[in-house]
Symmetry: C2
C-alpha cells in the first residue's frame, strides 16, 4: 500500500482504484471508502431495482454497511445493504464495478461506474455508540422514553385524577398484556386502571387502535373497568374519531414540554 489513509484519488482509472483502494476495503481492519462518479446500479433481493446513469456517491463502512446515494436528491439512498455485508471491487470492460452482498440474507447491489470523479479512503475512528464513555458519545433527548418518565413522575399533570405510581415506577411502565406491552399503567382516584399509550409525534388511527387493544386485553385479563389515555402532542382527526367511538381519551404532551419541566427545580420544589 503506497498511501496511508486518509487519501484521495481524483479522476482515477479503474485500475488505480483497484490497486490503491481495494486493499483498505477488503483488508483487516477495514477502512471507510467513498467513491463518487457516474454510474448505473442494479439491486436483487427482497425486491429488485434498476437505476439508470447518474452521478452517485457510494459509501462502504467498516461495519459492512453499504449505501449508494444519488448526488442530486433524496435523504434515502438509491440502493443499500445494511451490515453485515461485504463489498468487492473489480474492473469489467474498462469500468469499475462495485459489488455489495449481504451476509445474512440474499441481497446484492451491483454498481457499474462509467466514470469515477473521486475515490477516497478515510481514517478509522469510532462509531456513534450511545455508550456514554465512548469517545464519540451520541446522546439524544426529547424521546418517547423521556415522555414516559415524565408521565410517571408527574401523572397529575397529564390528568388530575391520576395517582402517582405505587411502589417502584418500573412496575408501571412497559406492562405486558395479551395484546402487547403498554407504555404506562396507573390508577386513578376512583381506583380504575388507566392504560396510557405515548406517542412523540401526532398520533394517528393506528395509535388509537393499539391503545384499544391494550385496554381490551387488560379488561379481559383483570376483569375490572379500565380507562385508556393516549398521550401525544396532537392527534389526527381520524384518531380522535376512533378514540371517541371507543370511549378512549387523549391528553396533550409535547416532547419539548418534558425537557422544559426537567430543566430545573420547579416553583413547587420551593413551596413544598
Amino acid at each position: 500500500m503506497t498511501e496511508e489513509p486518509p487519501f484521495v484519488l481524483e479522476s482515477p482509472s479503474p485500475e488505480e482504484v483497484l490497486r490503491k483502494v481495494a486493499p483498505y476495503l477488503h483488508g483487516t481492519p477495514r477502512y471507510p471508502v467513498v467513491i463518487a462518479g457516474m454510474c448505473t446500479a442494479r439491486y436483487e433481493g427482497r425486491a429488485s431495482s434498476k437505476a439508470g446513469p447518474a452521478v452517485r456517491i457510494a459509501i462502504c463502512k467498516p461495519d459492512g454497511t453499504f449505501i449508494l446515494h444519488n448526488a442530486m436528491e433524496k435523504r434515502e439512498p438509491t440502493n443499500w445493504n445494511p451490515a453485515p455485508s461485504v463489498q468487492r471491487l473489480r474492473t469489467d470492460g474498462g469500468n469499475l464495478v462495485l459489488v455489495s452482498k449481504r451476509l445474512d440474507v440474499p441481497e446484492t447491489v451491483i454498481v457499474t461506474f462509467e466514470d469515477v470523479h473521486a475515490a477516497m479512503v478515510l481514517p478509522r475512528s469510532v462509531g456513534d455508540s450511545r455508550a456514554s464513555n465512548a469517545p464519540s458519545a451520541f446522546t439524544i433527548s426529547r424521546t418517547h422514553e423521556e415522555m414516559v418518565r415524565y408521565i410517571l413522575e408527574n401523572p397529575s399533570r397529564i390528568d388530575p385524577s391520576l395517582l402517582p405510581p405505587e411502589g417502584p415506577p418500573e412496575r408501571h411502565t412497559e406492562v405486558e398484556c395479551g395484546a402487547g406491552i403498554a407504555d404506562v399503567v396507573l390508577r386513578d382516584e376512583k381506583g380504575r386502571l388507566v392504560v396510557i399509550e405515548v406517542k412523540r409525534a401526532r398520533a394517528d388511527i393506528n395509535a388509537a387502535a393499539q391503545l384499544k387493544r391494550y385496554v381490551d386485553a387488560f379488561r379481559e385479563e383483570r376483569g375490572e373497568s379500565v380507562r385508556g389515555i393516549l398521550v401525544a402532542p396532537d392527534v389526527t382527526k381520524g384518531c380522535e374519531k376512533y378514540l371517541r367511538k371507543h370511549g378512549l381519551e387523549w391528553r396533550r404532551l409535547r416532547p419539548e414540554d418534558v425537557e422544559r419541566a426537567e430543566e430545573g427545580p420547579t416553583l413547587d420544589d420551593f413551596l413544598g
Copy 2:
C-alpha cells in the same frame, strides 16, 4: 471560481473550502458537495442530539437534502435535514463549520470540523426520478402494487372460492370505507364480500388490526356478512392469534411468486 466541478480538495484548510466550495454550495444552480473529516455535531429540532468527535461524511445535495454519516457504521445518518433545507459554510475559531437548516420546520444541524480530510464538488446530473423517459430511470419490482395486481388477475390462486372482479378491476382495488382504504375487495362464490389486505413483508398484529377495522367498517356500512383475508409472505405468531380470535383468514403470497407468475405466458395460456 478557479475550478470547475468535479474537483477534489485533499486536506484543505477551512479557508480553502470556504473559497472554493462554498460558491457551488450556495450558488444557483447548486452542486453536490461532499466533505469528510473529524467533526462533532449538534442537532436541535423535533428532538435534540449531540454527537462527539468522529470521522464523518457530510453530503449536501442540490435539492436541499443534507445528511451526515458516521464513517464507521450504520445505514442511517447521524444527523440529517430532508429537503427543503439550506446549508451554509463558515469558519469559527480555525474550524470549518457547516450549518444546515430546514426551511419548512425549525430544525437545525451544526457540524464543526476539527479536521477536513477531503472536500469535493461533483457535477450535476439527474435525480432518480421514476419517470420512465428520464435518463436516470429508476424502476423497482416485487412491490406491494404488483402483489395487488396479481391478486386481481388471479384471485382463485389466493383462495379457490374467490370470484374474478366484476367489471373494471380498478373498482376492486383501493376501495374506500369509513376506516380507510382497503387494498382489494372481491366477492366469493357464496356472494360474500371479501376484504383483502396485502403486505409484502411478514405481517404483524398491526396489519391484522388494520384488516379488522376495514372488515368492521364494511359490515357496518353495507350490512352484509364480510370475510377478511390477509395476504402476506408470512405472519407473526401474534398476528395469527389475532386473526383467529376475530374470525379472519390469511393466505401466503410472496413478492417473488408474483414476478415468476408474470414473467411469461403460463402453460394455461397455450392450453386455453
